[in-house]
Amino acid sequence: MTITAGPARTESPDVFHTPIPVEPDAGHRRLSTAKALQEAIAQQMRRSDEVLVLGEDVGAYGGIFSSTTGLLDEFGPERIRDTPISETAFIGLGIGAAVEGMRPIVELMFVDFFGVCMDQIYNHMAKIHFESGGRVTVPMVLMTATGGGYSDGAQHSQCLWGAFAHLPGMKVVVPSNPYDAKGLMTAAIRSDDPVLYMFHKGVMGLGWMKKNPRSIGAVPEEPYEVPIGRARVAREGSDLTIVTLGLSVHHALDVAERLAPEGIDVEVLDLRSIVPLDREAILASVSQTGRLLVVDEDYQSFGLSGEVIATVAEAGPSLLRHVSRVAVPDVPIPYAHGLEEAVLPSPARIEAAVREALA
């Protein structure tokens, strides 16, 4: 397999450093999260042939969670490359292409498979910029599917974003809706840093999975960025702050709406990025509400939920009248549906935690 590295044909040499709109008005056109993600990739591929896609089943299949549907038809097999089942080989290929001036998007089919290719990811993709004293950049997107809820077992259902966020050198983003999915993918492709783009399967709007209506939403037609590292207040409230991300944003909003008629006013902060973490947004919200509930579909211990709580504790424990978290207890994700439902941060668990916080 060969990949043509520069000189690439582009609109202009600085196409990825020319400003584009940041979080424009959403307009009226509606898409699913999967289609918004596909559109982001297609638009940047049209702007520059430095952008290409590599991965298992990204071609004719269109990505097993529809992240690349339709791209093969438009861009052909040179730029949308199905790879053998060898994650170390094709992630390494992506790193090499990025170092030579391309902007590859490499799909790791399930984040759970990171175990076979982690050396490429955290010793090379994440460190080349640092180790070269900033002389060599790795403008690469590593895209991967996360999350459970559909009985796919302990090796196909994890989130694991805390593990990647722990390791320095990678930006980590987790969109929860179509608007952010497009804006964050556009920002990830344009970034000169390696970005881990972790989409939750349950927010893609796929017909064969449980579909939350929040997976369909208004998306601007033009290219735009959602800045990496900036959280969004998904719902304003005064009684308690839920800090969360991914599919849990949908559950938290559903719970907040269900409790509103009882006079319970929940604020929902969608982190959108883990690295960099928008600590200011967390502190701003918690200083208003005084109560913090972190909802995280990753494992509870040694991860994101603890980091969010530490952020508030370090800034000023007096901010907190209540703190708790709903995460996955430290067990592998069960295959049996009832058991899986019991460990995931379900709406029922979130609602119980909110009630307890305000009791």
Binding site: R30, G207, W208, K211
Partner: protein
């Protein structure tokens, strides 16, 4: 007025599918470029766009099984005829 029908996705005479997602609501203006729906049959998805411009009226709700060829929505002429 023109019909939007469930696309032919199978050679089987009695093949059925569902509208997975309506991206528009009844009363919205649509054109042949508007992605109005995604339909699915046997785990295969297909996008649906109208043949003409006008105001759409949805006939079949999401997730209700219908035979291919069935009218799933109508589009009225812009003049309202």
């Amino acid at each position: 007025m023109t019909d939007i029908t469930f696309p032919r996705m199978s050679d089987a005479a009695d093949a059925k599918g569902v509208v997975v997602t309506w991206f528009v609501e009844s009363g919205e203006a649509v054109t042949p470029e508007t992605l109005v729906a995604e339909v699915a049959m046997d785990k295969v998805d297909q996008e649906v766009r109208p043949a003409s411009s006008g105001t759409i009226t949805i006939v079949v709700p999401e997730n209700e099984e219908v035979p291919q060829g069935a009218v799933i929505a109508t589009v009225s002429d812009p003049e309202g005829s």
